[in-house]
Amino acid sequence: MKKVTVHVTLKQGVLDPQGKAIQTSLHSLGFPEVEEARVGKYIELHMEDDADIEARVKAMCDKLLANPVIEDYRFNVEEAVQS
């Protein structure tokens, strides 16, 4: 079993109103050092290992998990820890 962790982030240059609101809140809580906040998504996939796993996950990201118009993604494949 593999655990795939996918991080989806807004592209640089794409406005992130949520991040902006978080930054403003952090400032008002006394963290003026925060120059920018950007919000992204974290998706965990558990799946059987496969020789094509990297290509398969990339296709999943391109087709559904991320929207290439506004988002970038990166992912990591690791051994799933049996619980």
Binding site: V14, L15, P17, Q18, A21, K41, K63, L64, L65, N67, V69, I70
Partner: protein, 227 residues
Amino acid sequence: MKFAVIVFPGSNCDRDMYHAAKDVLKADADLVWYENSNLENYDGVLLPGGFSYGDYLRSGAVASTSNVMQQIKAHAEKGKPILGVCNGFQILLEAGLLPGAMLRNKNLAFMCHQEPLVVANNQTQFTTGYEKGEIVRFPIAHGEGNYFCDEQTLADLKANDQIVFTYENNPNGSVADIAGITNKQSNVLGMMPHPERAVEELLGSDDGLRLFQSVVKNWRESYAVNR
């Protein structure tokens, strides 16, 4: 002319769309559940607003992968009219039938009020009933209607006259004040404002009715020519 109003789990403007097409426009229309649907006998497709699949992942993303979208793509390729309003627009973007993507409104608020729009292109089958530059009033009701595309796409949209409606007072931060765009062939229209909620004076505006009337009129004319 017969319309299919596609209903996804979480659609909530489907009845409004159906009412506009069936009761006000007096066209044939069916509410069509997205699963096991057969669109073969429909001349036009209406994708209503709402929160399909609870806006999970991204607005419209999950609905855009459903089987019915393959049929809608086939319809689009045949030149049949497809109208996506609000969440329907978001679904068309996610399905790649229209270029660009939606971001959260710039003020992060869900906005629900009437907005004046400019008819930027009255040469599409959806807008021949309007004057170019005419101001029309449609309600908006969205939290993610901040249209975004890259500069190249925007240049293409302008060059091909694909921008059909713009906001007079951009409420959500959309690039180039964009409220509605078509595909290159101009038979697929996506727009955030709700023409189906502006079809009777009782509702505060009937400016949206002409959009539906334009579709029917143009369909009849092309039907007569192609027969």
